[in-house]
Amino acid sequence: MSTPILLTKLYKPTPRPHLVSRARLIDSLNQSRHHKLTLISAAAGFGKTTLVSFWAEISEVPVAWLALDEDDADVARFLTYLITALQTFQATLGQKLLKILQSPPIPPVETLLISILNEVMELPENCVLVLDDYHLVDSPVIDNVLSFLVKHLPPQLHLLIITREDPNIQLSRLRARGEMLELRARDLRFTVKEATEFFNQNMGLNLKVQDIANLAERTEGWIAGLQLAAISLQNHPNPNQIIEEFTGSHYFVMDYLLEEVLNQQPAHIQDFLLKTAILNRMCASLGAALLEISEEEVQNILETLEQANLFVVPLDNARDWYRYHHLFGGLLRQRASKAVTIDIVALHLRASTWYEEHNFAIEAFHHASQTQDMDRIIYLVQGDKSPLYFQGTVSPILKWLQSLAPTVLNAQPELWVTFATVLSIAGRNHEVESKLDAAEEALKTHPDYPETSNLIGEIATLRALLAAPQFLVDTILEQANLALANLHPANTPMRTLALWSLAIASQFQGERLTARQAYAEVIALCQQTDNFFINILAHTGLGILYELDNELQYAAEIFELVVAEIGEPPLPMACEAYLGLARLAYQWNDLTTAQEYAQKSVELARQIDGISDYVGGELLLGRLKFVTGDRGGASAHIMQVEQEVHHKQFTHFYGNVATEQIRILIHQQQFEKAKQFAETYELPLSQARVSLAENNPAETLEILNAYLQTMFAQKWADEILRTQILQALAYFQQDELAPALEILGEVLHTAEPHGFVRLFLDEGPRMQDLLQIASQQQLSSNYVTQLLTAFVEPTAHPAHPSDQPLVEPLSERELEVLQLVADGLSNREISERLFIALDTVKGHNRRIYGKLQVQRRTEAVARARELGLI
């Protein structure tokens, strides 16, 4: 479970009463609903937050607030808070995404963003999301996230960013397109008129016009400066002296005035301010722990300060939490560092302890890292149930590790391993190996180091993970096994990762039993650690393995479980489960369902950049065309898939694509070409099919018998079935009925409990004949009858489509796309409008043309209108 949501970050600040009227700026802000982005960018002390909170109060559109800080540089955390803030507009928005964000590794960020934006599209009315203190999130990754959001922002949502420096998100483009509203220092400064209102009305001073003008000029309208000036003037016995001194000097405004105001405070308040300056935020309890005074006293001081508009800002309505106004915090900290009577380290320790006692793990860590107490820091990093970095807290820990000298790391080798782990989670894979090497070197110098075995295990786990995306199967297996042999049995997070690597490697190798066992173990572990993402992937893997073992019903159950777990709208990672369901539906001859699921799978998979998962779905869609009689469409479709697969060098899929091509080539009687393909890609079953088509059963049997040996040895149940069925046909072709029926009997026996249908249907009229004979010989009667019935059921394919309704109706999505095509949008515009990849749009178009039996856009629109679809 990750750290709790800090509600104070979502708190919309209540504007103070008696603010200077800033009508001109409020008018500007009211225009925000006509812009994607409103940017309020100015240095500290220009009243940005005050202005926006005041406007939010009177705004006609709903406003959500998110106060950002350095820790939001972590993508998972940023997105978590983003979604939670958006829930202000609709309470259930992104609920399932929140779950996924709780345990890394998280899916590709873009897919998460697309999901979020899709849900935002459902919001009924205009709304504004305020991101306060964006400059604190010092992260190019988050800048990219923000760029993406702004680019694809649905019309209802408007962003308002408050920052001290311009965010790196292509502002010039937004400016040029008129999509951005800006308020900058020159807009936010107090005019002389506003300064006058401020000094004489709000602060109750009675300054002369000239004095106000001088002060305004001296501060250049800088509100924080004017504020401090006013406060110091209020309490100063000789205001004129101050004004003269101040306006006549070059003293840095803040520095000078802060000194002035601070000195005017009673001693105990000064003490309070300096000591609590180390805190990002404070409440009475924390303040009391820090200063070792009573909570009541602290609360009084905080409220006094707030009343006097001195430095502190309330973070919630109940007046429980406060923070320092950013400007003052920094200056106070500087003062505190110089005060000899203050022991900063001791204060940090007290703060850390308080935060720990109250379950604020990240803050406890932050403060501890300011002390030299290594033991304590490490203890806090390790966390309660699992290390902080496994819960999404990456940047602060990385920063801390980077600040440590190598000698410190060498003295405690587990720090090197932590370093490597955190880098790996942060996606900086190329930096990991050097840290692992350093860890091993360091361990050599500590022969009796405690928990050495576990560390060796962790090092191996990380090496296995590094090897996985590169398909280095041998390395993965070697390291994963080494890891499992050495990891502490209670080290669940690492064990899960090691097992996961093992499962993937085994699956790549075709070691199905090992893979299956490994996935089952991973799933069991995931229950313990509540790791949603790995759980889904492991289940999907398990489902596939069941399917490969011919356990079709079990497989279906698992895939359905995954789909249900992921919920609606489905996340892109559900694509494999949908594909599994599509394959099963196909096998059970439910072609409509297969079509639906395959399409869904492709749509989802295409949303994930750079991944090849959609190929399986596209191939199935091609096959569906073929078996429903649309041979031309199938051929065209498969050819397109082949082009894409080879262009993107998805070598993993070359064989699958070739298999479908060979089917089509056999149908077209292009046996030579088919044979070539089968040889090039080493596809024995396809080779066998070609030989059968050429009426060469001897050759067929030669190929199949050899292949069967291998398959028995590897225990690949699905291939055994497919091989045996072709064997039966070969014997049949040779007029050797007895062996044919014997093998067929075996196949039927194996296949019946699982409901295999297309296994037989796909082999065509020859199989129909054989089954006919079999039924006459009373072999598995019911099942055989069922199969024979399936053979004769019509799978209609209209020869002349013009007057007939569509065989395959257009899906909702396809109708959407078609409507936009009819509206004259280009493919790119459609992809932007619907937040899907351009490839996806083109895929939709292909399918639409196929279903409508047309070649061009104009024809498609015409036909659709004819059929009354649009």
Binding site: A44, R164, Y251, M254
Partner: protein, 89 residues
């Protein structure tokens, strides 16, 4: 550009920088700015001078300056060999 010091990975050589801010800062700020020397000019500016370990440290320092609200006027790298020559940054 053939100048080897433009190589972004060569962050290792310490550099002397001169940072000019608007307004006068009291010398008490020296330690806050990592022991930079503070010089106050007659034009109402403060010049911070000192050794900066690498680019990352420079950006950290600039951020500190920004967060305190002091207007930044100029950043110059000083050539330690001939203090009168410098390259504008």
């Amino acid at each position: 550009m053939a100048n080897p010091t433009n190589n972004p990975s060569d962050n290792s050589a310490p550099l002397i920088y001169e940072i000019t801010l608007k307004g006068h800062l009291s010398p008490a700020w020296q330690s806050w700015f990592d022991d930079m020397t503070i010089t106050l000019t007659d034009y109402g500016e403060t010049i911070l001078t000192g050794t900066i370990v690498d680019q990352a440290a420079l950006h950290g320092l600039l951020k500190k300056i920004r967060d305190l609200g002091m207007p930044l006027l100029m950043v110059r790298k000083i050539d330690p060999k001939s203090p009168n020559s410098s390259t504008e940054a």
